[in-house]
Every structure is written in C-alpha cells, then in structure tokens.
C-alpha cells in the first residue's frame, strides 16, 4: 500500500509541473469563462461546454496517456528494478495520471462558475456536478485505454495511432454508424438495439448522463434521445453503472498486461 502511495504522490507532483497539463486546464478555463460571459446564459454555456468536454477530454487523455507512458518507459524499468510489485507500480501510475488529468480539466471548468457565482443556482450546480462527473469518468475510461495500448504495443507510433483510432471510433464514427443504421432500418423497431449500442460506447453514455441532467435536445446523438425516452428515471443509474464497467475493464486489463509484460 505504501509503495502505491509513494508512486501515486510522485506522479501527481510530476504531472503538476507538466506544461501540457497546465495548458489543458487553461483551455477549459478559457472555454468555460468565455462561454459564461458570451454564451448567452448559464444553461446554454453548460450545453456548449458539454459538447466540448465530450469531444476534447477523450482525445487529449487518450493521446496524453499513451505518450506519457512511452516517454517514461526507461523510468518505469528503473522503478521495476526496485523491490516493488508490478501491480503496485501500475496502481500508483494509473491513479496518479487519471487523477491529475481529471483535476486539471475539472479545475479549469469549475473555477469560472465559482467566480461568476453561477453555482449559487441549485439547478446550475447540479448540472455542473454532472458535467464534472462526466469529465472525470471519460478521463478514467480513456486514460485506462491509453495505458492499456501503451503497455500492449511496443511500437509507439502504432500505439499512438491506435489511441487516436479508438477516439475517432468512439467519439465520431460510432454515432455516424448508428445514424446510418437508423436510416437504413428505420422501418423496424430499433430502440432495443440502439440501447444496446449505446452501452457499448462510453462517450454516448456520458452524453446521455449530461442530456438527462440538462433536459435538452440541443445535444446531438440519436441514441441518447432513445435512451432517455425508454428509461426516463432509471436511465441515469444504468448509464452510470455501464460507465463504471467501462472504467473498470481497461484498468483491469491494463493491470493484467502490465504484470505480464516483458520490459
């Protein structure tokens, strides 16, 4: 346990000094601040911000996580040459990176809402909390996937390509395919298939969580609309459980791959 904490705290300190992480937080700060000032109201700012989060968080965390692990390859070897269990090192690594990336984005988004006193409004506060939760969840999912790829794939160019491909598939291509399926098979009752399709995509899941909270059709995504209609009350719970599974599977697969890897 102590070894995990030692590595975790080191990771946090290392990432806290990273210029990339600072730029990432600053990006969300500017987006949040700008939308609050000129976005036409707190709720509309929140909707726009949600779209940005759903797009940017998966991309940046997938790429950053992959690159970070490749860059610290020799250092990881050095740590593994110490009397440390591989599982402990992975746990420290994973928790440090995911937490630092989550906090960077969350701070950037939340600070303008606090400064502008938008959080005093209960409904805005609830929406903001959901948005921050979705930000953290997507960070965990895509950082986990990134680490898994970087552990499994020796070639860093291919690993980076795979990370971007996964982002493209889940953030863009997936919804396109769903729309094509809907357009093609529109005469059939597709709702159940759509629900199943959504559970397979963490970005869709996060979008649904936000959609339900925002109660707004402004967010695109066909599956989200279907999902809301079907599960009005319990939908959020189901989406949250599915997201947890989406966080757990890459994280555990990464731990397993890390324990077996030849460095």
């Amino acid at each position: 346990m102590n070894a995990i904490r030692t590595i975790f705290l080191y990771q946090l300190r290392d990432l806290a000094r990273s210029k990339w992480l600072a730029a990432y937080g600053l990006f969300f700060f500017i987006a949040s601040e700008g939308l609050l000032r000129y976005g036409g109201g707190d709720v509309r700012a929140m909707v726009s911000l949600s779209t940005i989060v759903l797009f940017v968080v998966p991309l940046v965390t997938a790429v950053y996580g992959t690159v970070y692990l490749y860059n610290s390859r020799e250092f990881t070897e050095l740590l593994l040459a110490q009397p440390v269990r591989r599982g402990q090192l992975y746990a420290g690594l994973y928790s440090g990176i995911t937490l630092a990336l989550s906090l960077g984005a969350i701070a950037g988004i939340a600070v303008p809402f606090i400064v502008h006193r938008a959080v005093l409004d209960a409904s805005v506060r609830a929406m903001l909390l959901t948005l921050l939760g979705a930000t953290a969840a997507l960070t965990f999912v895509f950082t986990g996937l990134a680490l898994l790829i970087a552990i499994r794939c020796e070639d860093r160019m291919r690993g980076l390509g795979a990370a971007i491909a996964i982002w493209l598939a889940l953030a863009l291509v997936y919804d396109g395919l769903v729309l094509v399926a809907v357009a093609t098979f529109g005469d059939y009752p597709l709702e159940r298939a759509m629900l199943g399709a959504m559970l397979l995509n963490p970005v869709d899941l996060a979008r649904t969580l936000l959609l339900m909270q925002l109660d707004s059709s402004a967010l695109m995504g066909y599956t989200g609309a279907v999902f809301q209609r079907f599960f009005a009350g319990t939908g959020a719970v189901i989406a949250a459980v599915a997201l947890t599974v989406w966080i757990a599977i890459p994280a555990l697969a990464g731990a397993r791959a890390f324990r077996r890897k030849d460095f």
């Binding site: 030692t6 860059n71 250092f75 440390v84």
Partner: protein
C-alpha cells in the same frame, strides 16, 4: 550468487536466449560480453525480473525469480539508458527510490520503515550535490549517467548489475566508478557488468561469460580464457572465441 539454468526467451520470430546456463560467483566481478544482439540485455533483464523467460530458471542468492519482488532489495541496477522524467530533480529521484526501498520490507508492523544503509560516496565523488536540485533535463548525458550510477550504489546492495556503466562518462568519472566497483568486490559484493570496452573489463573482471546467439560459449576466469585461447588480451581472446567454430 546467481544460477541460470536452461533459460529461453523468444520475441516474436527471434530466439534471443536459447537454453542459456550460467553461474555467477559470489564476491567476484563477472563480465558478460558478446556481439550485439547476443542476448546480454535480455539476460540481465531476466535476472532483474523485467523480462519473463519462456522456460528455464533464474536463482538469485537461493531465491527463484518468479514474480516475487523482495529479492530485488539485494540488487542495485544500472540500466543502459539513463532517461529520467524531465521535470524531476536528481534529489527527488534518489528520495523516491529511497522511499520505495524503505517500503519494500515486508513482515514488519505497520508504519515501521526500515532505513536501508545508504552509501552516498558516489554522490560526493561525482560532485553531484549541486546538481541534486536541478531538473534532470538540464543535466548533460554524462551527469545523468553519474546519477544513474550513484543510484545503483546508493543502497549498498550485495549484488550490482551494471549495463554499460561507463558509457558517456569522462575519464575522471569513469575511474571513480571503476574504483567503486573494485571496492565493492573488496567488500565481498558481487558485480555483473557488460561493456563494449574490453580494456575496461580486463581491468575489472575476474570472470568472463561470452554470449553468442543466446547461449554461453565460454564461462570462467579471465585468466583461463586468455590461456585457452593463447591470446594476450581480453579483446583478442573474446574475438578468438567469437570467430572459432563451435566445439562439439
């Protein structure tokens, strides 16, 4: 100190180690030499547990290397490439590894941290004190290699595994490190070392293991190697082993 029996490792289509056997004697300096891609680094990584062999057995001081991490408390490892996180300072690196080592001791009551013996001689002799507060990216390659060496010796480990330790060091630092290696041997500690500089190994090594294509072609005292091959220097003796047809 180290026993290796029938070690095999394959990476894809490449047979890196093919049933390698080797004994490393306690209290001696053993040089591992061989052409590029002979499997030297894979062998070293198998001893440290970084690489999992496909078959065969590695035993370090009577403990079979099988995934349990505790035996590594006895090892100081100096990897070939000294790359550290950019923002980290050398001082932080030493502290981090020190913390990890302190926590590595099992079977003690919670909260009890056993401070391992600390040997900062190399930090002093390399004059690293002033460099300890600087981010690692601002250090030269030679300075990073000094930090790498100081870290391997920091915990006065009974077994030192050094992969190309003098690469990038200036003659003064290189001499300091060689003195340190010989001093460690003088204290009865075991050293495994690889290098491309044969004259350096000639100065340091008691035993030599010549690796070719994943097997040990010769293992034994340096003097025996020279006598068998009737060559005056290690470099020529190794060259003669490498070019000699395989003896049945």
């Amino acid at each position: 100190m180290i026993e290796i029996r029938g070690l095999t490792k394959r990476f894809g289509d490449l047979d890196v180690l093919r049933g390698l056997n080797l004994d490393v004697a306690r209290g001696r300096v053993t040089a591992i030499v061989g052409p590029n891609a002979a499997g030297k680094t894979t062998l070293i990584k198998s001893i440290i547990g970084l690489t999992r062999p496909d078959s065969g057995l590695v035993t370090v001081d009577g403990v079979v290397v099988n995934g349990d991490e505790r035996y590594r408390a006895a090892i100081g490892y100096m990897p070939q490439i000294a790359r550290f996180p950019d923002n980290m300072t050398a001082g932080e690196l030493l502290r981090l590894v020190r913390d990890l080592r302190g926590h590595g001791v099992k079977g003690l009551p919670r909260g009890v941290i056993v401070a391992p013996p600390i040997d900062e001689e190399l930090v002093e002799r390399f004059q690293l004190r002033t460099a300890l507060d600087k981010p690692m990216r601002t250090l030269s390659g030679g300075s990073r290699q000094k930090v790498n060496a100081a870290l391997a010796f920091l915990f006065a480990p009974p077994l030192l595994i050094l992969d190309e330790p003098t690469a990038g060091l200036d003659p003064v630092a290189s001499s300091v490190l060689k003195d340190k290696i010989l001093g460690a041997r003088g204290q009865g500690r075991t050293v495994v070392i690889t290098s491309h500089v044969m004259s350096e190994l000639e100065e340091l090594a008691d035993d030599v293991a010549v690796l070719i294509e994943g097997v040990v072609r010769f293992a034994g005292p340096l003097t025996d190697l020279k006598r068998c091959t009737r060559q005056p220097s290690l470099e020529r003796a190794v060259a003669s082993v490498l070019t000699r047809p395989v003896a049945a």
